[in-house]
């Protein structure tokens, strides 16, 4: 739940990058951290295991400035994608305001994407949240692999698999090259802040 501090005129929103393991969640944040380093002015925290996999989560906080007289502080998190770390994923999801689902476009990962999205829906339920109503952006990552001859799923199939019912905005992307990474992020911030706008207009109620 967004933290609104009416005294300090400050809003803190939590956005989580969710998705299957090795899908590019951390790469998204790394790109943002690198590309907008001069404006972010804070450090990205990341805890990885020996083979470069996210063990707990990545964390990237920054202020985007004032909206309606409130300083908007955004906190980006990623979850560990590996199936075995569900407890950590649930922990990271606590208090989430917006989600980017980073799906892996590789054909081989089709099943993993679907399972991960189901897992997200289940975990949200445990916090009384609904995947259909929470601000959500789909990112179909690794589109660049097609150029290297690696089979990737057509966007239509990914939409059908993952977004047929949700109808969330989606972007094809390449986190490695930064393609559509910032666009995805802008969209989720925008949707998340808009989802709490009533509270901002009332001067904060939490």
């Amino acid at each position: 739940m967004a933290l609104i501090n009416p005294k300090k005129r400050e809003v803190q929103v939590k956005i989580v990058y969710y998705g299957p393991g090795r899908g590019g969640k951390t790469t998204n944040l790394e790109f943002i951290n690198e590309k907008f380093r001069s404006r972010i002015k804070s450090e990205m925290v990341t805890v990885k295991t020996y083979n470069d996999r996210t063990l707990f989560f990545d964390f990237l906080p920054f202020d985007i400035g004032m909206i309606k007289g409130y300083t908007i502080k955004v906190q980006f998190y990623t979850v560990p994608g590996q199936v075995k770390y569900n407890a950590t994923r649930k922990l990271v999801l606590r208090g989430v305001d917006g989600i980017v689902f980073v799906a892996d476009s590789m054909t081989l990962r089709q099943e993993m994407n679907i399972r991960s999205l189901e897992n997200l829906a289940e975990n949200l339920v445990s916090f009384n949240k609904n995947i259909e109503t929470i601000p959500l952006v789909m990112q179909y990552n690794k589109r660049d692999l097609e150029k290297e001859g690696i089979p990737v799923l057509p966007v239509e199939i990914m939409e059908k698999d993952l977004n047929a019912g949700l109808k969330a905005p989606y972007y094809t992307a390449s986190a490695v090259s930064g393609d559509n990474v910032a666009v995805t992020m802008k969209r989720i911030i925008s949707m998340t802040v808009m989802s709490i706008r009533e509270k901002l207009e009332l001067g904060g109620s939490e």
């Binding site: 907008f36 380093r37 985007i64 400035g65 909206i67 802008k186 706008r197």
Partner: protein, 187 residues
């Protein structure tokens, strides 16, 4: 609500576009050298010493002086460079023959202090060393002028004891006094 909602949306979109603008002018200038202009002018002065280059030199130092106000060591360098520049401007060809090379060496050290990521202590030490060199050079200017100055100073600026105009001498004295006082205070 709709109106408010769309106004927030507009404000938010514009804020986000501004924040995540791809325009690289927002990004730190990766290899921008703050001394680039001054360096070019100093190199030009090595070849030809004229009013134009000296004016550009002094004006560039003024800009840098404002930018480096908070950095004592760099401010010392800038003042020394400025004093020498003003001396050159007043004397031109009649200046001590080593003046330009002294200025160049001072500038090289200033550049090192700005760009090499020296620590504060190292920078202060380096500035103090150059204040001493400046004092020695000032003495050599005084010794040089009476015997070798081929062109006497303009009548409005009598050469006096050392060939330096009173204005320049006063200026040099003042700068050196200030720097020494600062260095003593720091120690």
């Amino acid at each position: 609500m709709t109106n408010n909602g769309s106004s927030i949306n507009k404000e938010l979109d514009s804020r986000l576009n501004e924040f995540f603008d791809d325009d690289t002018s927002h990004e730190p200038a990766k290899h921008e050298d703050p001394l680039e202009n001054l360096k070019a002018i100093v190199l030009e002065m090595e070849w030809e010493l004229g009013d134009k280059s000296l004016d550009a030199y002094l004006s560039e130092l003024k800009k840098l002086g404002a930018q480096c106000r908070q950095d004592k060591a760099l401010s010392i360098y800038i003042k020394l460079l400025d004093t020498i520049g003003r001396y050159l401007k007043s004397k031109k060809a009649a200046a001590h023959p080593e003046t330009v090379s002294f200025l160049k060496s001072l500038f090289d050290n200033f550049e090192r202090a700005v760009n090499s990521g020296m620590g504060e202590a190292e920078k202060n030490h380096s500035a103090a060393v150059h204040v001493q060199k400046f004092k020695k050079f000032k003495v050599s200017i005084s010794e040089y002028a009476p015997t070798k100055a081929s062109k006497p100073a303009a009548p409005t600026q009598p050469s006096g004891q050392g060939g330096l105009s009173d204005e320049v001498k006063t200026c040099i004295r003042q700068v050196v006094r200030e720097e020494i006082a600062r260095l003593i205070k720091r120690k």
